[in-house]
Amino acid sequence: MDWRSSWLKERKTLVHALAAVLLSLAVLVSGEGLAVPAGNVTTLFFYYPFQKLKDALDAMKHTAEDNAALSATVVDLSTRVQFYNEILTENERLRAMLGFIERSQVTVLPAEIVNVEGPGIPNRVLINLGAADRIQRNQPVVNRDGLAGRVASVMSNYSLVYLMTDPRCRVAARDKRSREQGIIRYRLYRGMYLDNCPQHADVAVGDTIITSGLGGIFPEGLVIGIVTGVESPENDYFYNITIEPAVNFNGLDELYILVGKP
C-alpha cells in the first residue's frame, strides 16, 4: 500500500466530509441546470407516493360533503353566470364602441397543496401542478378570497408558489375606491403594507386594495386586502399603510392558478 492510499485511509471521514461539502456547494452554485433535475427526481421518488396517499385519504374523507356543497354552489353560480353573461355582452359592446383593446382570456386551474412552509405564517407552498399542466413561472395564484401569490418555480409535476407573505412577492396595487397606486409588500412582524403611496394620496381605513394590473404579471382587480391603518410619519414622503390580507394564509386549502396572459 503506497503512502497516498494509507494517508486517505487515515483521514477517511475528513475526505468524505470534504466530498459531501464540495458536492453541496457544486449543487448550490450550479443554478437550475443541476438543481431542477435533481429536485425533480428526488421529489418523484420521495414525495410523490405520500402525496398520492394524502390525496386519496382527503378524497375519501370529503367526497360526500364536497358533493353536497358543490351541488348547491353550481345552482347558485349557474344563475349568476346567466346574469353576468348579459353584462359581459353589454360591456364588450360598449368597449368596442369606445375603441378599447380586447382583454385576454384567463383560464383557472384548481391546484392542491402538497406542502406548506414558513416561519410562523406560511410563505411558500408546493402544489400538485407543474409544467405538464401548462404551469409557468410568475403565473398568479388565487383562492376564493383573493390573491394568494405567484408561481416561483416549476417542475414537471409540481410547482413552488411564493405566497403574498413571502418578502419576495411584491405586487403593484391600487385603492379600489380612489384608484391611488402603490406596491404591496410583506415583512415578518410588520405584516402586509402598501408601500410607495405618497402622503397626499386619498387612502382611508376600510378601503379595499386590489391589483392594478401594472407590471404584467397579475391581472387587474384581484382583491389583496383591506386597509386597517394609515399613518403619516414625519420626515417621510410616504404613508405607512397596513393591510389585512383577504386570504387567510394559515387556512389555505385549495388554490387556483390563472393561466393565460393577464
Binding site: 468524505h16 461539502v21 456547494l25 452554485v29 435533481a38 410562523g120 418555480s153
Partner: protein, 165 residues
Amino acid sequence: MIRVVPYVLYLLALAFFRTNLAGLVSIGPAQVDFAALLVLLVALNKREVETLWFAFAAGLVYDAPDPSRLGVQMLILTLLAALMLQVKERFNLESVGSRMVLIVAGLLIYSVPYTMVYATSGFSDFFRVMLVVAIPSTVYTAVFGWLFFMLQSGRLTYAKIKSIF
C-alpha cells in the same frame, strides 16, 4: 447494499413528515426540525461516513421541492453532521443527559443558518425570528429527541405508559 435500506427508510420518513405531519405537530410558531433531529440521531448512533452521506441526502430530500435553494440544506446538514461527529468523540454518551446536551446544542447551531437562509427578510428580523420561532422549535424538537432516548434506553416502555392509566 442492505446497509443503505435503513437510511432510505429514514429519508422516506423525512418526506412523509414534511408532506403529512409537519403541519399537524407544530404548536404555534414552534415546529419540529425533523431533518436536523434525524441527522443528529444518526450521528450519535451510526458510523461516521454513513452519517455524512445521510446528512447530504437528507438535505437533498429536504430542499427537493424548492430547487432554487437546493444545496443549502445539504451544506448545513453535512456540516452539522461533521461537527457532531467531532464533538461526540469528546463526550461520554452513556447518559441520556449528555446526549440531550448534544442534541440541543446541535439543534441550536442548525437553527442559526436555517433562520438566516429560510426565515428572515433582513438582518433586523433575525434575532426576533430566532427568539420567537427558532428557540421554541429547538426546545420542542429536543422533546422528541428526549422521547427517542427514553425509548432507546428502555426507560420508557409500553408497559410503563399503560401503568400510568
